[in-house]
Each structure stands twice: as structure tokens, then as C-alpha cells.
């Protein structure tokens, strides 16, 4: 396991894709901050699993939609391990699905705040130290809904499409400092968030199956690694061909 000079933060990591990402980064030697909003038990289980496998992790409570969250999370991580956050994964996300004529203001704004604005604030906070360190990795978890219309998700799609635009713009701003910023766009992945969805959707997926959180996490691990040093401003879809 390689020795890392910095640490990693994964938001929304108490379960699902975030938990898988935390485990994957830890297995690559990253000390990982496992952020959760309310599922403390889930986050601590992820931490325990990582530690059992010889990795390092700590659970950190924060609602990423809170403007004070970035400073709290980063200050806590930096003092916990005495090192800067050099990998940030903006994974925390919520959805409030409904057809556009029925969406309420709060359905719109909650999704935009958590899925887009929070990622902007966390990115802003992360870039300060990454600029000074001349290295850094930011991976934003977007969605195929940002690339291909999915009825009932105009708010989610707008947030995730915005996240992709943020990814690309910030990426070109800081590329010459050795910082890469990329997005991963998962399709239908087997998690709690998709558990209620009809499996008829599988017929629309060329791979004829849902993806696994570990399959998304493997892509994030690659993008956070040295091997991906020349990949920036990219969107990596992990969707069994759905958006192709």
C-alpha cells in the first residue's frame, strides 16, 4: 500500500456508491474521511471495514448543503491526520423526483443545493491547499441523467449537468498545477437510491444488468491515482452502455 502525502474526503460515504469509493481509496493507501449526514452507524461500519483491511479512515458528520460544512470537514480531517486533503470525491447527493409541472420549489432547491452547490463549495475549499501542493484530485459523481433525459428528474439532471460543467471549467483553470478534476457518471447502480425502481429498466440497458457500486468505485480509484495524471475535465460514464 503506497504511502500518501495527503488524505481523501468522500462525501455521502455511509452507504452505496460513496461507501464503495471510500473502501477503494483506502485500499490504495489513502487515509479517508467518510462523511455522513445522518447515518452514523453506516459510516462507522465503513470505517471499521477499512481498518480491518489495514487501511485508515474516520467518520465525519456534516450536511454538505450547509455552507459551513467545507471548513468543518477539512479542518477536522487536516487536524486528524496532520495532512492536507489532496483527494476530494463529491458523491453526496439526493433526489426528489417528480415530473416538472409538479415539482415544488423545495424539491428543486434541495437537489441543487446538495448535488451541485455543495460540490462547488467543497471544491473551492479543496483547491486552496491543492494549488499550494501542486497536486490534487477531485472526482465529482454525476449521473447519466445529466447526459440522457430521464423523465421525473429535471431537478437532478440539472444539478448533475451543472456538476459536469463545473468539473470541466474548474479542471482547465487548475490543470497546470498538477490538479485533475473529473466526473464519473453512473447509470443504474444497485443501491438504496435505486432499490424502488422497476427492473423493466434493465431492458433499456445494453449490458442488461444494473451496475455495482464497486464498479463505480474502481473508476474513482483510477481517477484519483497517479496513472490518471493526464486525465482531466473528463466524464467517465459507468452505465453498461445506457448513454452511448
Amino acid at each position: 500500500m503506497s504511502e500518501r502525502e495527503g488524505c481523501a474526503l468522500v462525501t455521502g460515504a455511509s452507504r452505496g456508491i460513496g461507501a464503495a469509493i471510500a473502501r477503494a481509496l483506502a485500499s490504495d493507501g489513502w487515509p479517508v474521511g467518510v462523511n455522513y449526514r445522518t447515518d452514523r452507524e453506516g459510516a462507522e461500519a465503513v470505517v471499521a471495514e477499512i481498518e480491518q483491511d489495514g487501511g485508515r479512515a474516520v467518520a465525519l458528520e456534516a450536511d454538505v448543503a450547509d455552507p459551513a460544512a467545507p471548513d468543518r470537514l477539512f479542518d477536522a480531517l487536516e487536524s486528524h491526520w496532520g495532512s492536507r486533503v489532496l483527494t476530494l470525491v463529491n458523491n453526496a447527493g439526493v433526489n426528489r423526483d417528480d415530473l416538472t409541472p409538479s415539482l415544488r420549489d423545495e424539491d428543486w432547491s434541495e437537489v441543487i443545493e446538495t448535488d451541485l452547490t455543495a460540490a462547488f463549495r467543497l471544491t473551492r475549499r479543496a483547491l486552496g491547499a491543492m494549488l499550494r501542493a501542486r497536486t490534487g484530485r477531485i472526482v465529482n459523481i454525476a449521473s447519466v441523467s445529466a447526459l440522457r433525459a430521464n423523465p421525473g428528474q429535471s431537478n437532478y439532471a440539472a444539478a448533475k449537468a451543472g456538476l459536469i460543467a463545473l468539473t470541466k471549467t474548474a479542471a482547465v483553470e487548475v490543470a497546470r498545477r498538477g490538479i485533475t478534476i473529473n466526473a464519473v457518471a453512473p447509470g443504474l447502480i444497485d443501491t438504496e437510491m435505486t432499490a424502488g425502481l422497476s427492473r423493466d429498466l434493465l431492458a433499456a440497458i445494453p449490458a442488461r444488468r444494473a451496475g455495482k457500486p464497486e464498479e463505480v468505485a474502481a473508476c474513482v480509484r483510477f481517477l484519483a491515482s497517479e496513472d490518471a495524471s493526464y486525465v482531466t475535465g473528463a466524464v467517465l460514464t459507468v452505465d453498461g452502455g445506457l448513454a452511448a
Binding site: 486552496g128 494549488l131 499550494r132 483553470e173 487548475v174 497546470r176 498545477r177
Partner: protein, 82 residues
Amino acid sequence: MPAVTSQQVESRVVEALASFGPEPEQITRESTFEELDIDSLDLVELAQIVEDEYGVVLKGEDMKDLQTVGDAIDLIVSKAEA
């Protein structure tokens, strides 16, 4: 916080600017950022350094009129004294 001298700020600013590329000997108060090839990303980083070390916050609108190294030094010193 003890008063920050113009000389201390000058020496720190020159050190920071040199880390972005130019040779220290090229950097004088009269040097423009343009001739030193210092761009907006470098200035963002300079603002971070200044905030960490002097507690002085430089926003985008403060920085956009800065032409020379001397302009930056004077701005930092005036905000530190405020």
C-alpha cells in the same frame, strides 16, 4: 498582531512570485505581472498565501486593478494595517 512592515511583505511576495516561475532578480516593485508572466491563477495562489500568513483577505475585485508587484505589496500592507 504585530504590524507588518512593507519590507516583510515585499520579501514574502517576491518569494511567492518566484515560485510561480520568474527569477527572483527579475522581480522588482516596478515589474508588471504581465511582464513576469504571472496570471490570474498565480494571483489566486498569492491571495491564499497572503490570507494564510497575514490574515489579509484579497478578493477578485481587489486584485483586478493590480498591475505591478508594488501595487500588490501596497494593497496587502494597507489591508494589514486597517
